[in-house]
């Protein structure tokens, strides 16, 4: 049977790893390759790199660091941020990324999902969804890389996840914005609701603060992977310890 995946997320800006709270106030936490290598060694199952400013700037991630990472690490990784075309996707996949994640460009042009899935196969197309409660419903946000440009999209999160899967994504990362960076636990209720409509792998993002939060999200929302950033970057949780704990709690993890 499959192991539950532990996925450190590295927000990238200008070739460095940064981390903010609720998408603001980014601080520098280190060099991309150095952190990637450290996490791979500590037992991370996968890595996600988000170029947090690329969507807002309207340009795309620089493939140069993608191949630097691919050269160094022996676990899968996903690249996100401003991928708007087949050419953008191809550059990253051919540089060695295992998957690409699309968010804002898919909202602006949903046909992009179909095109990418046809060209590269669903297995390497991930739908990133930034979601929070607005007017009593979970809705999708856009342009979260730059606070000045944030705008509310009216799509409902559950509808958008269903549509993305119909169009061909092979995985969904649900980032629960209300929980992001505050380390109060994952948004179990929302993740469980999305799980019910999500037939592809589902990755939880936003809110990890303690080891127990990972256990809860795997057991209660039945997600396939859990993503976290600050708790790993700041050494609050060590990946080896986390996996030993989850294994002791009866969850299947890769040692």
């Amino acid at each position: 049977m499959l192991a539950k995946r532990i996925i450190p997320c590295l927000d990238v800006r200008d070739g460095r790893v940064v981390k903010g709270v609720k998408f603001r106030d980014h601080e520098d936490v280190g060099d991309i390759v150095k952190l990637a290598r450290r996490y791979a060694r500590e037992g991370a199952d996968e890595l996600v790199f988000y170029d947090i400013a690329a969507s807002a700037r309207g340009d795309t991630v620089e493939p140069e660091w993608v191949s630097r990472v691919a050269r160094e690490i022996d676990i899968p990784f996903c690249v996100a941020g401003g991928i708007r075309s087949v050419e953008d996707a191809r550059a990253r996949l051919f540089a060695g990324a295992d998957k690409i994640s699309i968010n804002t460009p898919a909202l602006e042009n949903p046909d992009l999902i179909d095109t990418l899935a046809r060209e590269f196969g669903s297995q390497c197309i991930v739908l990133g969804v930034d979601s929070r409660i607005i007017d009593g419903a979970w809705r999708v946000h856009q342009f979260t890389g730059d606070p000045d440009k944030t705008l509310t999209d009216h799509r409902k999160t559950l509808d958008w996840v269903r549509e993305g899967i119909e169009r061909g994504v092979g995985e969904v990362v649900l980032n629960c914005m209300d929980m992001d960076g505050v380390r109060d636990g994952y948004d179990i209720e929302q993740l469980a609701a999305v799980r019910a409509v999500c037939s592809t792998p589902l990755i939880a993002s936003g809110g990890a603060g303690r080891k127990e939060h990972f256990k809860s999200v795997f057991e209660l929302a039945n997600v396939d992977g859990a993503l976290a950033a600050s708790v790993f970057h700041k050494g609050v949780i060590e990946i080896g310890d986390l996996k030993a704990y989850l294994g002791d709690e009866g969850l299947r993890v890769r040692p």
Partner: protein, 197 residues
């Protein structure tokens, strides 16, 4: 020892190339069979769809070349699936080097599709050279929606709703459904084993 890494033009070969570099294994990228003169073994990597990949292989004359070649060949992921006779992905005839057909993974209650993530290598043949110094239950990284059901060529399997062929072998031709280039220490071991078997 030189490994020829086959570039079909539609697959990401960077990951495999980097993995061979990390393992210190000599390799060259080859685009058609005439470029393999210096190679003593071949890797057929694969990402993407079966139909498109077969069309590219046909263009370059690979199917005929494989039929008469006796060098060790390792297919990875889609590259492994292409070794069989037919794929349900696009309903295409494939290389036919190993008897059997590739089917769509059944949609099973409680399991998501595709099969994506780290899964344990279950029952396997202890004399399989690719698995030297690999233990039962070690994890490898899988990403696929179609699969080769367990058959006579299966030498290692993984469980995902169905019994999935994880490694297959027929004589000098072998394949891994998982990605050794992304399977950490276990994957590096399997690539090194391929280079020395």
């Amino acid at each position: 020892m030189t490994i020829g890494l086959i570039d079909t033009g539609c697959a990401n070969i960077a990951s495999v190339r980097f993995a061979l570099e990390r393992a210190g294994l000599d390799h060259v990228v080859v685009r058609d069979p005439s470029e393999t003169g210096d190679c003593d073994r071949l890797i057929l990597p694969g990402v993407g769809a079966a139909g498109a990949a077969m069309a590219r292989l046909d263009e370059r004359g690979w199917p005929e070349a494989f039929r008469t070649d006796d060098r060790p060949l390792l297919g990875i992921c889609l590259g492994m699936q292409l070794l069989f006779e037919h794929s349900a992905e696009g309903d295409v005839d494939t290389l036919g080097l190993i008897p059997g057909r590739v089917e769509k993974l059944p949609l099973t209650e409680g399991l998501v599709w595709p099969h994506m993530g780290w899964n344990a290598l279950q029952a396997f043949a202890s004399d399989e050279p690719l698995l030297r110094h690999v233990s039962l239950g070690e994890y490898a990284y899988f990403v696929h929606g179609f699969y080769a059901p367990v058959g006579p060529a299966t030498v290692a399997q993984a469980d995902y709703g169905a019994e999935v062929s994880a490694i297959v072998r027929s004589g000098h031709i072998a394949g891994c459904q998982f990605h050794p280039e992304r399977s950490g220490r276990v994957g590096a071991r399997i690539l090194s084993n391929f280079a020395s078997c």
